[in-house]
Symmetry: C2
Subunit: 550 residues, 2 copies
């Protein structure tokens, strides 16, 4: 080249989260990487173990691009597989432990993984599922690897099953001098994550090494983390690879505190004993903390930041959790954006040094530093809505931290990325100060007369009722108004309430067109994320020949 | 594609620091971007101004890949040009204001810039230099743009010169709706930075958009900065684009406090009035602070982190500066690595949560999270030296945050990147704990008998002498020992000392082979970074027919 510029292995290394682990092994060495019950690993041990698993996968015939599935709670092995599988050149797919047999079968049939690593508690369901899958001609049987639990000798049940390997045997056959299979192109896939299926069957979402690397850095900025946090795994690692925090924790040299299951007692114990600095979760964890008995609630020994993924601003539950001493940061995102892409911050870390300036910290997170663009656009155009805080449009992103596409679904990928923007299918408005506010999922919004009702906003009011535990609001066909809002409500244990009481409560806080016309009590049908399946509720309410206020 | 994966403008945007400014304009809007004397700009103003300058450059015929030079102190216009020039698709070259006419001529002859933006104070030297350059046939004359100072009407002298434009006129002709010319490939060049010429003529070092983007993020991690710092520009922006902090400050929404010149008074005033959180510098600034009169030293109102680029660990001066309340963080790097690539941290931010573990925070920075590899290797091989803290080898890097190569110098580029590692020409050792320690520049090390003497280590002892202001140690040919160390020393104003006194001082702290055999007093010849030109001193000492202890 005339100018003398080169791109060589000294100055160009494909971006991959694998680098974070290599560095942690060199820089953090004997520092704790993972703590699980009484079991402790250091960063050099974790690195060695990942090399061994990668080596074993290669010995067992894994070739670059193969898929390796995993079904496990937040145990050390699942953390290890997030590095070991890509280090063998393969693609990790951590599956939702709440999938039922039918969904699991559907997903495995699509993935055609070479291996599936299964926690001993899920071995039966996996073997049952695999037995009912019909393989394509020429496709090999999925190799099952069972992961026993530490301190539980009886959990080593893999060896009792024919054709099932044991995780410890895989480790034992691996070699720690394995040469890592690096991505040739940083846009090569590193993982497939399944959506929770709010609107139908779960879709496989593919992440690239580049996107995973950049979003790991973005997550650190987003949650304002510093070096060496102590991270409590209350967020499922199978959710967007733990919002990419599996990889980000290696970048920071964090201590990963793993839990098989989450209880309020365990959260407060961990905070106290391990001095947790950060935890993340779906809103369900907030409930667990807020509703925990006073006996388990204890004063926090240090600042604990709790990042929760939620579309709506502060609720009563958040206030409760903040009163217990947690610093709650809300994020909004989706599987396609590798987790929460934007965050709201309640208040700034310190006072502005220029006190005459508007405090804009809360707007900050709305557009993370690694996101190229976020905008609310007139549906089916790339024209921005007016910045009036009123006009509803579709929220769209452009970012290097987005998915590569839907697995084996080019049509859905093309649809999501049309016009060069990722279409979230979420509705929102832009305020005059440039801040974006979410309103609802496109398919959940209720069109009543001339009004557009956000089901989320009505649900927020319902959830602030002291007796209400879960709530979902959907539109019912109406001859005059097109649709009217109707509520489905689950009351807290031991509570009773009448529809009138609930409707009156809403009437005190909402304009008349937003007040639910009926309230139906009972359990809500939930998807694999624990969110209400509104398409089921819509069918139900429209089939019900109920008068208003039933 | 069978899998349905795509790389499109929604999920792949070439990495470029331009994105940081676009986001700052949207997220930080009315927040202070730049403060310079009484002049204040907001992030939306800075964005508008950069768009206008970029637009004017395009109107004036700039095409992608053209070079636009700048010669100015740390004034707002130089900050703006760091974005405006790349936004026009051009490559910025911020030149060292300490270059003499001959060096400047040499550099401009090589760069062949389309434009040169010049602070009014440097206009005469630039016009004089340009007059003596002979252009290649067909090459157009460099267009000079003079930058006046705010509040100084007499500084608008550009218009008095024929063919010289004024910065304000350039701004006035630009349009704020200019469409940014984005890099087609993220490996396209964004800037050329000249080395200081320690070993000969300054070399042009080319940075890519990708490297600049990633190193901006790396700098934030390296110095553990958080959102919205208040940054005092004591580091020259022409030095590695201010170690890429020009761009990083936009990523963080910082307030950039600009200074035309740096004095202790101004540093303490700024810290007090603007509540500076960070400043960076070459070691000279440490001297300015440490030696400042007590009248200007005042208690710091908040934590102020001072990042200093220095190869050697803590010195007396650093201790003094820390006693004044600054948190000193040392970095080591070079123009080729876009600034300090690694840092030492004196002590951790907070206590380890696992108190039984080794405190490794200081090792942390030695291998920043965005650096793929750092190693000490046996010279001319890629084999690591033993981790014994003794065996000296060459320090090498692999990183996406390295230069693209030397400008118009493919041979030097190939040499620097041979074997897939960047060869720093610095010598060091690796300790058993994996920590790397620098010893010296390869060409400055003194080979005496069987011993390898680090000139830096001898200089550190000389500099700890209360009367010594500057010191340089070089090898003098010796018939028996090959080389012996000889010192050049500049004493502090008003001080006098004998060679014997200095040698005895060294003798109390160094083994005999490291004690300088002679001390020569006087001013040291300095390069454009203020470092001693040792090759000049080596010639001088070998030409001197002096007995030892002269």
């Amino acid at each position: 080249m005339e100018l003398g510029l080169v791109r060589c292995s000294a100055n160009y290394v494909p971006l991959s989260p694998i680098s974070f682990l290599e560095r942690a092994a060199s820089v953090h060495r004997d520092k704790t990487s993972i703590l699980y019950g009484t079991k402790r690993f250091s960063w050099s041990e974790t690195y060695q173990r990942c090399l061994k698993v990668a080596s074993a996968l290669a010995q067992l015939g894994t070739t670059p691009g193969d898929i390796v599935a995993a079904l496990a709670p937040n145990i050390p092995a699942l953390y290890e597989l997030h590095f070991a599988v890509p280090m063998a050149g393969a693609v990790i797919s951590a599956l939702n432990t709440r999938f039922d047999v039918d969904t699991l079968a559907l997903v495995l049939q699509q993935l055609e993984p070479k291996f599936i690593f299964v926690d001993y508690q899920y071995l039966d369901i996996v073997l049952k599922t695999l037995a009912q899958i019909s393989l394509r001609p020429g496709k090999k049987v999925v190799q099952v690897v069972s992961i026993p639990d530490y301190d539980k000798p009886t959990s080593s049940i893999g060896s009792n099953h024919k054709n099932v390997m044991d995780y410890d045997d895989v480790l034992a056959m691996g070699k720690a001098d394995f040469e890592i299979v690096r991505p040739i192109n940083e846009c090569d896939p590193i993982s497939v994550n399944y959506t929770s299926g709010s609107t139908g069957n779960p879709k496989g979402v593919v992440y690239s090494h580049r996107a995973a690397y950049l979003n790991s850095l973005a997550a650190i900025f987003r949650f304002d983390m510093r070096q060496m946090p102590v991270f409590l795994w209350t967020l499922d690692m199978f959710r967007c690879n733990g919002w990419c925090l599996t990889w980000a924790m290696a970048a920071l040299g964090a201590a990963n505190i793993c839990l098989r299951s989450v209880t309020a007692e365990l959260i407060f114990d961990s905070v106290l004993f391990h001095r947790i600095t950060h935890l993340c979760s779906a809103p369900a964890i907030l409930n667990i903390i807020a509703e925990s008995p006073v006996s388990s609630q204890r004063p926090l020994p240090n600042k604990v930041t709790l990042n929760v993924a939620s579309a709506l601003p502060h609720s009563e539950i958040m206030k409760k959790v903040e009163e217990l001493g947690f610093n709650v940061v809300q994020g909004y995102g989706m599987t396609e954006a590798l987790g929460p892409a934007v965050v709201w911050q309640a208040k700034p870390e310190s006072d502005s040094t220029f006190p005459d300036e508007e405090m804009i910290n809360w707007r900050e997170g709305l557009h993370n530093v690694l996101i190229e663009g976020i905008d609310v656009k007139v549906p089916n155009t790339i024209e921005s809505v007016p910045h009036d805080g009123k006009t509803i449009g579709e929220v769209m992103f452009r970012s290097n931290t987005l998915m590569s596409g839907y697995f084996k679904n080019p049509k859905a990928t093309q649809e999501a990325f049309r016009d060069g923007w990722y279409h979230t299918k979420d509705l929102g408005v832009t305020h005059p100060n440039g801040c974006i506010q979410l309103k609802d999922r496109a398919q959940d919004v209720i069109l009543s007369g001339e009004e557009t009702i956000s089901s989320l906003e009505v649900e927020a009011v319902l959830l602030s009722h002291p007796k209400v535990s879960e709530a979902a609001v959907v539109g019912k066909h109406d001859a005059v108004l097109k649709e009217v809002p109707c509520a489905f409500v689950k009351l807290k244990d031991g509570c009773s309430a009448s529809a009138e009481e609930i409707i009156q409560f809403c009437g005190n806080q909402l304009p008349s067109h937003m007040i639910p016309k009926s309230v139906t009590f009972g359990d809500l049908p939930l998807n694999f994320s624990g969110k209400a399946r509104k398409f089921v509720l819509r069918e139900k309410i429209n089939a019900m020949d109920t008068p208003a206020n039933s």
